[in-house]
Structures are given as structure tokens and as C-alpha cells.
């Protein structure tokens, strides 16, 4: 993305665009962030929300919601 376009667009859009149009190498802090986001989705989402055919249990988010 050209610097001119980047200046015009807001920061959240730039972050969203950079995550979508991925050009970062492995072992960069951007890569780490993406990995953390993916692991959070995989481990925290209750299997029932995704209709997981094998896994059971509430998952971490489900467990937290159960506490409320």
C-alpha cells in the first residue's frame, strides 16, 4: 500500500488490511500476534459454538460465561 493511501486511511483499516494482505515473515512480532489470535480462537471458542462433531465441553469462554 502506498504511503499516500496509508495516510488517508484510518489506523484500524490499515491494521485490518495488513492482516488480510499478509506480507510479513515468520518470527516477526506481527506473526506472533497473528499466532496468538489464532490460538485464542482455537482454544477459547466453545466447541458447541462451532458444532464440533468430536470435541465436547464448554471451552474457556463457555466456562467464563458459566461463572457469570
Amino acid at each position: 500500500m502506498s504511503p499516500k493511501v496509508t495516510r488517508v486511511l484510518s489506523l484500524p483499516f490499515v491494521i485490518f488490511w495488513n492482516a488480510l494482505f499478509w506480507t510479513y515473515d515468520r518470527a516477526t512480532w506481527q506473526y506472533d500476534l497473528m499466532v496468538i489470535a489464532i490460538l485464542a480462537f482455537v482454544w477459547l471458542t466453545p466447541p458447541a459454538w462451532l458444532g464440533d462433531p468430536i470435541a465436547t465441553g464448554p471451552g474457556f469462554i463457555g466456562w467464563l460465561l458459566g461463572l457469570l
Binding site: V35, T45, P47, A55
Partner: protein, 200 residues
Amino acid sequence: MTFTGTIGTLCFFPLRAIIAVSVVLRVHPNVLTFVGVLINFVAAWALAVGRFTLAGFIMIVANIFDFIDGKVAEELDLRSEFGGFWDSVMDRFSDISLFIGLIYLYAQLGRTDYVMITALAMMFSVLTSYTRARAESIIEKCKVGFMERPERIVLFMIGAFTNRMAAVLWVIGVLSIVTVADRIFYTWRELNRTRIGTAA
């Protein structure tokens, strides 16, 4: 150093020993690649029968072979164009076999929704490799997009060991679609840039 970089460095230490043994025994790298695929077929069977933890362990062994073949080829000075081609083709066999194992499992459970999700993830995983290979026949490099093979393999292992395969399939599916779109867009942009540069 980033945390993914640290994990990579730690995992590389035991692999050094295996590479050294393969070099001493002068095992041909193409044989290592093929053995990796055969072991992946066993992992696919384990997935198909729902034995995820076992599948995870088998995938680790299979991917050790997959990882060391290139290093052994380098150390034995056996790098060849055919070796690269063979490795890429065998990688597709390994990838697709794992997906087929899951498709079989979900079909057995009568879950057509997950049969479709797995099939879509498989289609876009193959297209991820294809778009890059095809793009690099017309532009110099097309290494954009997050979801490449190493990410897929690690995600498969995480899904198998922690019994979160459904979430993993969603991640692989969605990010593979994005990766394919990235590569199509990048190739279009690079070709247009070249054309404009040539015209000027």
C-alpha cells in the same frame, strides 16, 4: 527474539541429531520425503478413526522426515531440481491425505457440514500452493498470505493434540481462502506494474 522464533530454535536442536544420523547413513533425501508421506498416510488413518492424539504423534514423526529432507540434501550436496519437484508433489499427497482422513471421519459421523468445511479447506490449501507455483512462473516471487504449509501442519497437530480440530479447520479454511485471494491480487498487481513500467 519473538516467541515463535524461540519455539523454532528449540525444535531445531533435536532435529540436528536426526539430520546428522541421516547424513552419516547417506540416506537419499528423496527417500526421506517418500517415507514422510507414507507415515502421513498412517496419520490420516488415525484421524479417520478418530484417534486424534495418536494422529498428532504420527504427524510429528512424518514431519520430521519432511523437514530434514532438504537439510540432508544440502549436507550431502544432493540438491536437485527433481528433488524440489518431488518434495512439492509429495507434500500435496501428505496434505490431502490428512484432509481425506477427516472427511472420512465426519462422513462416518453423518456430519455433512464438516465434510463440506474440510473439503473446502482442502481445496484452498491445494490452491494456496498452486497459485504460488503458477504465479512464480510469470512473476519473480509470490510469497504473500499467512496460511502456508508449515502453519497448516502445526495447526493440524494443535487440533489433534488438544481435540479442537473443528476450530482448526475453520482457521485453515478461512485463512487459506484469504491467502489464495492475496496471491491472485498480488500477481495481478505485479503484472500490471510490469506492464505500466514497460509502457513508460
